[in-house]
């Protein structure tokens, strides 16, 4: 046991170094010549640093959300995109925009969080009421529910001629992240800290209602707390960045394939790997069609889909 822990501590250090390396790369990559220009360092502080910070925050928060949802639903295929949470957040954003077009980004964020909470809660209620024949059916139903909400959003968008706007909101991208426009993302840091503190309760709740109640955990309250955490993180990230599809699915699954399931032990790994994956995808997006950028959600969506298919088939083969 001791040797394993020692080995994993050493590995973790290595992973941290690799991730920091990626982040440093992210700070240096860009069209604008930082070192050559007069105002280079000012630009560095205005765009590069905020962008890298938001990569860290969003990457860690969204992968953690995925892990949390998978634990609470006892289903490996659940994450904010496969339960419709992202779509609900988008609907909230849109409704706020319609009701008061001049609303501040903070108000829009509240709308997104409220709707994300409602949607995720509906999904959890549904999972509790419904007896399932197969764990694979959960993400299918979640995605269909998401597309109902998406249909509502696109109907509203079509009526008010905001369809392309909606597309831009949804596509997760770190392009527009500059100083003064990303600070709300710090909220997800609070969420991450809270999840770290109550991690053990979530683990117990993940064992099911009966066991959790037996060991003295208020199951319903823990679930409510989990849904709230996921909704806040998803709402904030959707408003500031956009959707980051499959991130919460890919990262926790890779970690648990390698390390098994232990929330407290896996959380740092999941956050770290989440940061690394988002940073890597963002770097790819920034460089392949320079001087333009590919939104990170496209790269995540395509690679995530491939990984998801692989995961499903792999699990099927083992079963």
């Amino acid at each position: 046991m001791r040797t394993r822990r020692g080995a994993s501590g050493w590995l973790f250090g290595l992973a941290v170094v690799a991730t920091v390396g990626l982040l440093v790369l992210s700070l240096t990559v860009g069209v604008y010549d930082i070192t050559g220009s007069e105002d280079g360092w000012r630009m560095f502080a205005i765009t590069r640093v905020p962008r890298t910070i938001s990569l860290v925050l969003a990457g860690a928060a969204m992968s953690m959300c995925g892990l949390l949802m998978q634990l609470l639903t006892q289903n490996r295929f659940v994450e904010p995109t496969t339960t419709g949470t992202t779509e609900w957040a988008g609907l909230g954003l849109m409704l706020v925009y319609l009701l008061s077009p001049g609303a501040s980004i903070f108000v829009r964020m509240l709308g997104a969080i409220a709707m994300a909470f409602l949607g995720t809660f509906v999904f959890f209620l549904f999972l509790r009421r419904v007896a399932l024949k197969s764990s694979l059916i959960v993400p299918i139903v979640g995605i269909m529910m998401g597309s109902v909400v998406g249909a509502v959003s696109s109907y509203i968008a079509l009526r008010f001629d905001m369809l392309q706007q909606l597309g831009i909101w949804f596509a997760g991208s770190f392009t527009s992240v500059v100083r003064g426009r990303y600070e709300l993302l710090w909220i997800v840091l609070i969420v991450t800290v809270v999840v770290f503190i109550v991690a053990d309760r979530f683990t117990v709740a993940g064992l099911g209602k009966d066991i959790a109640t037996n060991v003295g955990v208020d199951y319903d309250r823990v679930i409510l707390l989990g849904v709230a955490m996921v909704s806040i993180a998803t709402g904030v990230v959707t408003v500031v960045i956009g959707s980051l599809p499959f991130l919460g699915l890919v990262v926790p699954n890779i970690v648990s394939m390698i390390r098994g399931d232990n929330l407290r032990g896996n959380l740092p790994w999941v956050c770290l790997l989440g940061i690394a994956v988002v940073t890597l995808c963002d770097l790819i997006g920034r460089t392949i069609i320079q001087p333009f950028e590919v939104p990170v959600s496209l790269i995540l969506g395509v690679f995530g889909a491939v990984f998801f298919v692989f995961l499903v088939l792999w699990q099927q083969r083992r079963a």
């Binding site: 549904f126 007896a131 249909a151 696109s154 392309q164 949804f170 596509a171 499959f246 395509v302 995530g304």
Partner: protein
């Protein structure tokens, strides 16, 4: 086909409180049979009424004049589109739900739509506004349909046979591939100029009025052929509906049969999508209504009724939206909305999947 065995098995499943003598037919009681006939007759009346309504209501020309018939002729095209879409979606969904053993999924989630949208977007992405013209035309229509059918057949055959032979795996993989394609599409749409995007959006959001008439000559016979192929396989569908183990016991090759059915389903979906664009929840709405109204497991009765329900729903909402709300361009979107909400309510009320 050992039909009697099937019927007994099926009859046991259909648990309805009946005081009458129960028979081993498609309907448990005489009353159920009478009910089916009455519902069928009412549906036919609704279909006729909405057809006549769409054609003649608010026609500015005096009845019987040349102009009157010309307008009727124009409106008849819209009705033909409605008929094809309703027929395709209804039959495809009912058969799809039977072979997947699940009454809440629709073939629309299997990535057909995503593929269609991706092809359309890609053409505007590469060729600009003219790209739309490059993919309009009968040859392109047929090519697109072939691409969709081939892609989905490949998906079914690889995922249903062999090592991963599992229905849920296939469904999930289809959904995910759709999601991946959607990401790709979203990116391309983002790069378009607003005017190009408008052209594309007009094309993508299913519009009955904007459907191309030239396609009708091809879409009509193809969907009729595929649809009747499914109706002819009704008895096999009944057996498949018992589950693959029971079906295998009764002498059917479940996987091969499933693939044949899914092939026809993908042909029907390709026709419908190419006519009016993506629709996910119309099929769900129609299938759900059909199960409620028909009250039988027998596809010889289910399939024809589903087509009628589809036509009645689509044409009457077209009529209402066009003449009461003046929103004809948005018929499909509004139906999607209603169907989607019905889906949510149904899923929440149902206790198991």
């Amino acid at each position: 086909m050992p039909e009697a065995v099937v019927d007994i098995a099926v009859e046991r499943r259909a648990a309805s409180p009946a005081t009458e003598r129960r028979t081993t037919g498609s309907f448990p009681t005489q009353r159920a049979r009478r009910r089916y006939v009455i519902v069928l007759a009412v549906l036919i009346l609704v279909c006729i009424a909405s057809t006549v309504g769409v054609m003649t209501y608010d026609n500015p020309m005096p009845f019987g004049s040349d102009g009157f018939w010309r307008i009727v002729d124009l409106r008849a095209d819209a009705l033909r589109v409605i008929a094809i879409v309703a027929f395709c979606q209804a039959l495809a969904t009912v058969s799809f739900q039977t072979v997947t053993g699940n009454r809440i999924l629709t073939p629309g989630i299997m990535g057909f739509e995503a593929l269609y949208v991706a092809v359309q977007t890609a053409s505007v992405f590469y060729w600009g506004t003219e790209g739309i013209n490059k993919i309009t035309g009968t040859t392109q229509f047929l090519a697109l349909a072939v691409v969709m059918v081939v892609a989905s057949t490949l998906l079914y055959t690889t995922l249903l046979s062999g090592r991963f032979g599992d229905m849920h795996t296939m469904l999930l993989v289809g959904v995910i591939i759709g999601g991946g394609l959607a990401s790709l599409t979203a990116f391309m749409q983002r790069v378009l100029t607003p005017s190009e995007f408008d052209v594309l959006a007009a094309r993508l959001f299913g519009s009955i009025a904007a459907a191309d008439d030239d396609y009708l000559d091809w879409a009509l016979p193809i969907s009729l052929l595929a649809g009747f192929a499914l109706i002819l396989r009704s008895k096999r569908l009944n057996v498949l509906g018992l589950g693959s183990h029971a079906a295998a016991n009764l002498g059917l090759h479940p996987k091969r049969e499933t693939m044949i059915v899914l092939f026809f389903v993908s042909v029907l979906m390709a026709m419908s999508t190419a006519m009016v664009g993506p629709m996910v929840f119309l099929g769900f709405l129609v299938a759900m209504l059909t199960y409620q109204l028909a009250d039988t497991h027998d596809h010889r009765y289910l399939l024809p009724m589903s087509a009628l329900v589809g036509y009645a729903t689509l044409s009457s909402s077209y009529f209402v939206l066009r003449h009461v709300f003046y929103a004809e361009g948005r018929v499909t979107i509004i139906i999607e909305l209603v169907g989607g909400l019905a889906f949510l309510v149904h899923v929440m009320r149902k206790g198991r999947l």
